[in-house]
Symmetry: C2
Subunit: 435 residues, 2 copies
């Protein structure tokens, strides 16, 4: 998993998790068996569905959630917790169980995307790192899914690294890939996750040369005629002529990064065809989002490069997942459902189970959540929770390609209309079955 393996994730944690740990170690409640769930109360931004992403990254982070000397020294020097708590942290190793929706699965309001069971102490310290990973990655994957749906068969390329924090960029490339993007510009994502990377040249490349013609010739000489030439630094029509002059009729593609893309793409297509470059593709990249992509459906465009909008979640930069205690051991040793009563933030207590209900044609009809036990099942239900960690050992080894496949399959089950880009209700109702 690349260079960041081994980097401790233990301090990617809110201070209050460790003070809660200290207080519960004092009175013994730290040892109470507990169930925490990660779920969203609603789909922000009127989304029709959410896409689960980050599960694999969370499991990586969990493996590196260790308090070494450096972490303990900081906690001691900053007086975050007392010595007894530091001793407990020094030995920390998650020994509980985690179930979750497979990466690439869809989620709806109330879906128990992650279920973490163990002692209160070992579960409560994972709150922030679990939420950070899933909230970010799922927001990006959900935006990406809208874009790949709008793009249809045309490939989408992730190129938003520059518009988000440098390590978020790597996670964003990964999340976009889960939701159907074909490639990324981010080299670290290529190294860490094996995602195909792509890219050719920016305007600065043309500008550092004395003429566009010399720039294009240099690029074709270095990268071959299959390369993509950026033709809008000066005049586009002249840029296209220069491009074909440099790359010949085998030129791979031209890229357009400004102007009214539908109109420009049409005239560039006509020009390319008239020059005989009928196989030279057109890639567009200027401030695209899912709406712009949809609007270009009838334009002669062969691929989309998407940046800012993707990495910022296209208006919904975080998924709104929360991580809540839903059940814990009582004084008598039995598991008790719990939920806060806070106004406007009510949760459903109790351990959840979930299935995707489907009709006889395999079309999803509901997100069915069993409280306390599995929903009454018929043969078309699809079980959503899979074991990820068992007694502290990671048992899930789904690859990123598995996640891509899972995504394609899950989104293929949605009913007609679910892929609409307009704001609205979730594509499936969430149905609770309480026993």
């Amino acid at each position: 998993m690349g260079t960041r393996t081994g980097l401790s994730t233990a301090l990617l944690t809110d201070h209050y998790e460790l003070t809660m740990l200290q207080a519960t170690l004092c009175d013994g409640t730290a040892q109470r068996r507990s169930v925490f769930e990660l779920f969203a109360r609603r789909l922000s931004g009127g989304r029709r569905y959410g896409v689960v992403a980050g599960t694999g990254r969370f499991l990586d982070a969990l493996e590196n959630f260790r308090f070494g000397d450096d972490e303990l020294r900081f906690l001691r020097d900053a007086a975050v917790v007392d010595d007894a708590t530091l001793d407990w942290l020094a030995d920390f190793r998650f020994t509980g169980d985690v179930w979750g929706y497979p990466e690439g699965e869809l989620y709806f309001p109330g879906s128990p995307v992650l279920v973490v069971e163990g002692t209160f102490a070992e579960c409560v310290v994972l709150e922030t790192v679990a939420l950070s990973v899933l909230n970010h990655d799922s927001a990006i994957a959900t935006a990406a899914a809208r874009m790949t749906a709008a793009a249809g068969d045309r490939p989408c390329i992730e190129m938003g690294s520059r518009r988000t924090q440098e390590w978020s960029a790597v996670a964003a490339a990964r999340a976009a890939y889960v939701a159907g993007f074909a490639a990324t510009s981010n080299l670290e994502a290529g190294r860490t996750y094996g995602i195909p990377t792509t890219g050719t040249a920016a305007h600065s490349f043309t500008l550092v040369h004395d003429s566009e013609k010399e720039a294009f010739e240099a690029q074709v000489a270095a990268l071959g005629s299959g390369t993509t030439l950026l033709v809008d630094t000066y005049d586009i029509a002249e840029g296209v002529r220069n491009a074909i002059a440099a790359g010949g009729l085998d030129l791979g593609a031209v890229r357009l990064d400004s102007g009214d893309l539908a109109q420009v793409a049409a005239s560039v297509r006509a020009q390319l065809d008239s020059l005989g470059a009928t196989t030279t593709r057109i890639t567009v990249t200027s401030d695209l989002d899912e709406y712009a992509i949809a609007a270009l459906a009838v334009a002669p465009v062969d691929g989309y490069g998407v940046g800012t909008s993707l990495v910022t979640g296209s208006g919904v930069p975080t998924s709104g997942f929360v991580y809540k205690l839903v059940a814990r051991e009582g004084a008598d040793g039995s598991l008790v459902s719990v939920a806060k009563k806070s106004k406007d933030k009510i949760s459903v207590g109790g351990r959840k189970f979930a299935v995707r209900r489907r009709d006889e044609r395999g079309i999803a009809t509901a997100e069915v959540i069993g409280v306390g036990e599995q929903p009454d099942s018929d043969h078309d239900d699809r079980t959503l929770l899979v074991p990820l960690v068992t007694k502290g050992e990671r048992v899930d080894r789904a690859s990123l390609e598995d996640a891509r496949r899972h995504f394609r399959s899950a989104i293929g089950e949605l009913p007609a209309g679910a892929l609409r880009l307009s704001k609205g209700d979730p594509a499936l109702p969430t149905v609770y079955e309480e026993h």
Copy 2:
């Protein structure tokens, strides 16, 4: 600078930077002396000003921008570039100069926030990492500045880690601190940057106990009566009674995380006072943004905990900075101004210099940008660009506390009305002086 020192940042780079490198190494333009500038064409979201943050992090990233064996192996295996380019990268060390606005400074459309000068090759490869850091951190700092302005003398605490990518969270805590936040919940930010961390308990802490009373007693026993008790898990009035029963009249604070905060804070204040707990503070934390903070100005609230809205830039999650070649050596060795002509994305060519013009009372009146040379200066101008890296050596050693001070001073110079939260024009006009 914490555990991540030494981690290579070299692949936090878009693929096309290395293909441009290869092509310019082939034809010799790689060696052309070049000036790149990082600037924003506009202030997104109708912001009145932007806050520069991330400068220190960018300089850290630059020190770690080295292609080691792992990085080179990936580039070779994935066939990103040819062997000659790999050889060049293996020896890479930035040997040029960087000037920038000091961290904490304000910026306006066109402000040359970062100026990077060196060979084309060594400048072009820094594009993505520079933009990623500055675009993220400045967006967060700009949102934070609006919040601290709205909060006045009341402290703001950053607690948004869970709603953004796990390493973005650390950077966000740092950026918020630059713009006046008092503390963060993020422990890694405490370790890496020395930012004060804070936190006490979540609802899960109350719920794992058999009663709220037992939870509060356990917390006070572990953390002392100066702690903050979260009183809205069940009934707030009873929570406040339980809190004072457990913590006594010395109880540090109560926290409210739900409901109509203005109304609830007023009734909790009255209740606390009637119980004699007149020094017990009230902290509020439920989905706050700068508008909610402003609306609570007359409520009896002593501090604000801000999460989601802060770490997502309060509607503007990225700053819109671009990194453009503005001048480069021509065939005759002299420096030539360059700029692309693309429709809707026109840039001003030429190396920029910048001053903040101020009137006789020290109030800022304009952002004056000299193209090609320093603006004609009068004695109230403040020079904005400072040397950060000279001949490859980092010369800037501004601390985070320096950045906080710089921010307070810079924002104190703005004219009346500049701190309005409503959307509008930049607080200062940008004036170009061309010679």
